[in-house]
């Protein structure tokens, strides 16, 4: 395969983009959010159509009308947000992506087993997808893709949800695919990975190809600079303050809670504490009880016993979210649009919804709109939120800018404790650094911060201590300077003793 060239004038997302992929290479596609990476690969896979431009496949011009046509040519794709059907079996999911049979077809089941053995991707074809971990789900996607014997495999941010050990395994598989003469188009914004894995990189910015390079000859900072178009500095992290002997701000002792949904993970005997001035990181692969833990900490779900959660010495386990906000506990949820902000409301209205109590925006039942606007504008200017002003709908902001607004909104309410879930997930490098700096600054000013994240680099950059959540159990926390990403990675796979009387799930 040579000279896959695409040009699309008139399309905002991709502006005259050309891309060449060689046989048997791992080619990185780099760019910030909104740079047009996803659009480009969707066109290549036939999900969307280019306004103009050509695609050359093995030297011949082709029309890719739909994903089935792409698969016929030999193009397979592993999606960023898994495109699996949760209530169907692994084999059914594979069958759906092929043009024949159902998951009951014995030949198909045998083929799945053969391929998964060949590439070291352990899979049971009869299991229902909702029971699988995120890493296993990705294996299903990869096997599903390999079943079509593709010459080109597109992977959209495949490692964002994996543990370090799973990432290593995935890289082994990818190198094996490359050795088979297959081509991998690898989309990521994790720069270190791209340096380790990829042969060539093409950098997109604002829908245009701005550069291409050999990533192994670059540093993460130089790659980031190409991505954002100016020199890049990592987050500025203040010196930790001495907190070893301070009284705990928030303590959780023996907290257990049933998951809200049948497929969620219940919490078992959680113990943690945060002192003023420190950042506690909670690592873990998604789906290990983070959602339940966050709901229990923010007060969105109330604990069975009041003394399971204590804040400044008071028992608050049975205090709801509103009451906890009044005490100074603020929360930044993982899902920005819908949970963190109302998509169709203006930024100032979103500021009002979260901050009316602490900012005293409501007097005798009436909203003070001038004060609300003033607060929203303060957040926008202090945190450099790029928007059309405080009247812009939350939906109209890019992910990174909206996240800066939400974090800023909470920080400017002068909280005593801030709980943030995946604060930089899917946020471009520049905004991520700004958010991380703001979180650490908040802690250095004397507040407690809890960050729940899957991104170990982030946790090691900003937190003072780190604990790991696995299957509803929380490990004891360790100081980040006394542990390594490898150790924490092992913990994320469940290799730890629970603090007291471990109860196997």
């Amino acid at each position: 395969m040579r000279d896959v060239t695409k040009r699309f004038p008139g399309c905002v997302a991709n502006d005259h983009v050309s891309l060449d992929l060689e046989r048997g290479e791992i080619h990185a596609l780099l760019g910030e959010n909104g740079a047009g990476k996803s659009t480009l690969v969707k066109i290549l896979y036939g999900v969307q159509h280019a306004d103009s431009g050509r695609i050359l496949w093995e030297g011949e011009e082709v029309e890719i009308a739909n994903p089935a046509a792409a698969r016929t040519l030999g193009i397979g794709m592993v999606f960023q947000h898994f495109s699996l059907f949760e209530t169907l079996s692994v084999a059914d999911n594979v069958a759906l992506a092929l043009s024949r049979g159902t998951g009951r077809d014995p030949a198909l089941v045998a083929e799945i087993k053969r391929l998964s053995n060949e590439y070291g991707l352990a899979l049971d074809p009869d299991r229902i997808v909702y029971e699988l971990s995120v890493g296993e789900r990705q294996r299903v996607e990869i096997v599903r893709c390999l079943m079509q014997d593709p010459k080109l495999i597109i992977m959209d941010e495949p490692t964002s949800v994996l543990t370090p050990a799973e990432v290593d395994k995935l890289f082994d598989v990818l190198r094996r695919l490359k050795a088979d003469g297959r081509t991998v188009l690898y989309i990521s914004h994790k720069l270190q990975e791209i340096r380790d894995l990829c042969d060539r990189a093409t950098i997109l910015r604002g829908g245009k190809v701005v550069d291409s390079c050999d990533p192994s000859q670059e540093t993460p900072n130089s790659l980031a600079a190409m991505m954002i178009g100016r020199s890049f500095d990592g987050p500025k992290i203040g010196k930790p303050v001495h907190t070893e002997d301070g009284d705990a701000l928030l303590t959780v002792e023996g907290l257990s809670m049933e998951a809200a949904s049948p497929f969620g993970t219940s919490l078992k005997n959680i113990c943690l504490s945060v002192r003023p001035g420190e950042v506690l990181g909670i690592a873990g692969v998604a789906g290990n009880g983070q959602n339940t833990l966050l709901a229990a900490l923010s007060g969105e779900r109330i604990a069975q016993r009041d003394d399971w959660v204590r804040f400044e010495g008071k028992s608050i386990g049975r205090v709801g979210a509103r009451g906890r906000r009044d005490m100074g506990i603020v929360f930044v949820p993982e899902e920005r649009l819908g949970h963190g902000a109302v998509p169709d409301l203006a930024l100032e209205e979103n500021a009002l919804l979260s901050g009316w109590g602490r900012w005293k925006l409501v007097r005798r039942g009436l909203i003070s709109f001038s004060k609300t606007r003033e607060k929203a504008e303060q957040v926008i200017s202090a945190f450099g939120v790029v928007s059309a002003g405080s009247g812009a709908a939350a939906r109209s902001l890019s992910g990174g800018n909206l996240q800066k607004f939400i974090i800023g909104r909470e920080i400017m309410q002068d909280p005593k404790l801030l709980i943030a879930a995946q604060p930089t997930w899917g946020v471009d490098a520049g905004s991520a650094a700004a958010i991380q700096t703001a979180l650490v600054d908040l802690a250095r000013s004397g507040a407690g911060v809890i960050v729940v994240s899957q991104d170990l680099d982030e946790l090691f950059t900003i937190s003072d201590r780190v604990a790991v959540i696995f299957d509803g159990h929380l490990s004891e926390s360790r100081p980040t300077h006394a542990t390594s990403a490898e150790d924490v990675g092992l913990l994320m796979g469940g290799l730890f003793e629970t603090p007291t009387e471990a109860t196997p799930a």
Binding site: N66, A68, F85, T87, L96, A97, F263
Partner: protein, 307 residues
């Protein structure tokens, strides 16, 4: 023993319209579409089947016309919700109201017209077997059709590739679209099938169960069919069970009323089949994980390929 056969026969007759409508709606909902217009489509099917039956005297043709009418109404619904992305709940309610009005208008000249019931099957020898004969070999064609179609629906959904694709569309339409399945077209076919089934259910009412036409003669059966699908947690076997349970209870309370042994106001007795069917289905379906496994995740949500 001799009195058992008529009772079973009437239970089957009371259950059949529900079974048609609920099995059709099951397929529609499995594809991720919620069509609340079942009652309207049943009435449309009932009146058109009756008119064709009176005018031609051909039972088969009448039933087919009823199915076609149900399908035509479903097509209207599909244009609104699949083509124009209208809200499914509001459109479904409108379809029911439209069906009630339209059927009353079409049937104006036919109220009180007599129509001979559909012919029952008669197999010499077999049908004459006491009790079992009339039950298994003495029904009209639509009863057999309802049972064959129920089995076909179950086989289609869980054994065939087309059924797998249909379920995948109901579970995650964006993913199905990304793999390359025509979500809108699949949903259209499911909606049309549901309309035909509701029309057949209505046709059975006006051709066989009570061979006559009266305004709003479905008496809420379309709503019960909708409730059956939900309370049966989208499982064909439980839909069948629920339909027959409802039929049996309808009959039992009628007998209780006529015997007059128990002095309960008739309104309470009229309520029992609705209440008891729902209670039983809720109790046998209370496993939350199983509900999640069988419920179509995208139900009622508008899907737009580029959205």
């Amino acid at each position: 023993m001799e009195s058992l056969a008529p009772i079973v026969l009437s239970v089957i007759a009371a259950a059949t319209p529900l079974l048609f409508a609920a099995m059709g709606e099951l397929v529609v909902e499995k594809s991720g579409v919620l069509n609340l217009g079942v009652e309207g489509m049943m009435l449309g099917g009932a009146v058109v089947a009756f008119i064709v039956g009176v005018e031609t005297g051909n039972g088969m043709l009448a039933a087919a016309a009823g199915a076609a009418m149900g399908m035509a109404l479903a097509f209207l619904f599909a244009i609104m919700v699949l083509g124009l992305l209208a809200n499914q709940v509001a459109t479904g309610l409108a379809l029911t109201l439209f069906g009630i009005g339209l059927s009353a208008l079409l049937g104006r000249g036919y109220v009180g017209t007599p129509l001979p019931a559909l012919p029952k099957l008669y197999v010499p020898g077999l049908t004459d077997i006491p009790v079992l004969g009339p039950i298994f070999f003495g029904q009209d064609g639509l009863v057999y059709l309802s049972i064959v179609l129920s089995g076909a629906v179950a086989w289609f959904l869980y054994r065939s590739r087309a059924g797998l694709i249909l379920r995948s569309v109901g579970e995650n339409p964006s993913a199905a679209h990304a793999i390359g399945y025509p979500v809108i077209r699949i949903r259209l076919l499911a909606v049309l099938f549901g309309g035909a089934m509701a029309g057949l259910g209505g046709a059975f009412l006006s051709l066989s169960y009570t061979p006559m036409w009266a305004e709003a003669m479905t008496a809420g059966r379309g709503w019960i069919a909708l409730a059956l699908v939900v309370f049966a947690t989208w499982q064909p076997g439980k839909v069948l069970l629920g339909a027959y349970l409802f039929g049996g209870l309808t009959l039992a309370q009628l007998h209780l009323q006529s015997m007059g042994i128990i002095h309960i106001p008739s309104q309470f007795l009229n309520m029992t089949p609705y209440l008891a069917t729902i209670v039983v289905l809720v109790v046998i379906s209370r496993d939350a994980a199983r509900i999640r496994l069988n419920a179509p995740a995208s139900i009622g949500k508008v899907f737009h390929p580029d959205g």
